[in-house]
Symmetry: C2
Subunit: 338 residues, 2 copies
């Protein structure tokens, strides 16, 4: 490997003092415009990389926004990132993304990497097994704003953008009950995550309101993957359920597909609903009832709030939660021709 | 905002010389073990951030691998990234990801950001409008290896991992012809991209072999989105086509859905095939014939080659293309009961 080009190399090449090179690169007025141009052109040709670390320290900011998400493999998350990217690009920032892969130990390393890269701000959706958030303290202490979205810390006042997962879970379950379902299975993820815990709470509240028994057997906790949906379909048949509420569309679609292949009619035998309004919910047959989770808007709002904080127009640490609306989208998978 | 904590702040707090702090943080033997511990503990409590920039320069490497992709919104790309992430994490590297959003000017900024962050290596899938790759020269000149995958530069010897897109496009089209299709529409993306250009070439070769006319009317170039699939369905009906080959599954699924809603029977009236073997191809009804593009393996292979180069076990610049196999997966959407 080559050694990085320094201002000394450029100075030698141009037969100028290193300090002239340094001032020329910064377009300091003590260096003539013509010399500035020569220095910058030569620096570019030689592959000189500005010490952005030092420049950033001086300017007290970088032009990078960091984002840490659990996984990049969902339509929802790609929508959130598209929303963030649009806003930060317009403001002249570059986005750097990393995944925790649902593991807090990797999340801690990711925070460190973002910190070392001196991001101007950090947007975070937590890993499902993150119990506490002290690994964000150091970055916050240094004045780098952190804003959580979707998967947010529990039991503290950190600024966050969320939806009302409890209310959304309640609305879905109530709808399935109103369509005649009496034994509703709920397929969900790790209960350390606020998102899945609250959807389950909403499911319980609806059952209670309609005086249907809550049975832990009917709550299937898995990784909400395509394979988990296939496995869950067989449990649903054994449990003789007539309704299914799945905490994401991806898993709901594969579950419905497997139920159909096992001879069940949707919605006649079993009504089913998902969550997120992913593209797949519109394409499957029958179309899947779901909750419209506005990922793009959530991303835009998160980015705008973070940038406003960086520009010192608002202090996000004074903001409590921002909560987005989530309409229920009723489609053929849950509507019985009664 | 707070000022970053420096070794001077720690020195003041512990009433020690700054140089002792510096040596203590590096666990230099001239500082007693007990003092080292005190220094490190205090540094952590105060939120001290090691000058990793300087450390990395000294060690001539960073622990970060950069990746630049066109868009994060596909199942294929999430599979590639999962493959890369597994390999680099095991080797102790963190992955930083950025999107070009199919725009070369953003790709240039992303390369600069990765360069400034001193990545140890860079994995790149090009934006669809990237015509030449001189923006990677500077980073390569500095000894930072760059390896391309999927969307790779044309007409040069840069190391790349690809599939044989021409051969895959040929196989799909030949299969549709063998199922009785005589007027096959091809839906594809920007022809600046090697991927789409080669699939079209394969489509043309199959038509030629079976003495079917090639008609530019039958080639629909769009952004391969969900909406593009819906719009294409109406063109297909007007063109009275009896076969469709779409360059991705996402667009193929929404196109097939719209064709069905417009009264067309699949595969009786129209045979259809996609590309990638995304989850959606298995879930739609009928299941979609597609090309198995092994994204996870491509990611693993790209990461392994890059790390081997960094460890100086191989020189990827001596490697020509690595080409992965892509079997045709024949499913109900293209099989006529003849």
């Amino acid at each position: 490997m080559n050694k990085p080009v320094t201002i000394y190399d450029i100075a030698k090449k141009l037969n100028l003092a290193p300090s002239t090179i340094s001032r020329g690169l910064k377009r300091h007025s003590s260096v003539s415009h013509r010399t500035q141009e020569r220095i910058i052109k030569t620096a570019e040709e030689m592959g000189y990389r500005a010490n952005t670390f030092a420049i950033n320290l001086r300017n007290r900011k970088t032009s990078t926004i960091g984002i840490i998400v659990p996984k990049l493999n969902s339509y929802f998350m790609s929508q959130v990132i598209a929303g963030i990217e649009g806003v930060v690009n317009n403001a002249g920032y570059t986005l750097l993304i990393s995944q925790s892969l649902e593991d807090v130990s990797k999340e801690i390393i990711n925070v460190q990497t973002m910190f070392d890269n001196r991001v101007a701000g950090l947007l975070v959706s937590l890993a499902e097994n993150t119990k506490e958030t002290s690994h964000f303290n150091r970055i916050q202490k240094q004045g780098i704003p952190v804003l959580f979205f979707d998967r947010t810390p529990m039991g503290n006042d950190l600024p966050a953008i969320t939806i009302n997962n409890e209310s959304a879970g309640y609305k879905v379950t109530k709808h399935l009950i109103e369509q005649g379902a009496k034994r509703i299975v709920h397929i969900t993820g790790n209960q350390l995550s606020n998102v899945y815990r609250e959807r389950l709470a909403g499911y319980r509240r609806a059952l209670q309101e309609f005086k249907l028994p809550f049975d832990t057997q009917n709550v299937l906790i898995n990784d909400l993957s395509e394979q988990a949906g296939i496995d869950a379909a067989h449990s649903i048949i054994k449990l003789m359920a007539d309704g299914v509420f799945v905490a994401n569309d991806h898993c709901a679609a594969s579950c419905m597909h497997e139920l159909k292949h096992s001879g069940k009619k949707i919605p006649e035998d079993i009504v089913i609903a998902g969550f997120n309004n992913d593209m797949i919910s519109r394409i499957v047959d029958p179309a899947l009832t779901t909750v419209d989770y506005p990922g793009f808007q959530m991303g835009e709002l998160a980015a705008k709030n973070l940038l406003a904080h960086i520009a010192e127009r608002i202090d996000i640490n004074l903001t409590s939660n921002i909560i987005l609306k989530t309409p229920l989208l009723i489609r053929a998978s849950s509507v019985r021709k009664i």
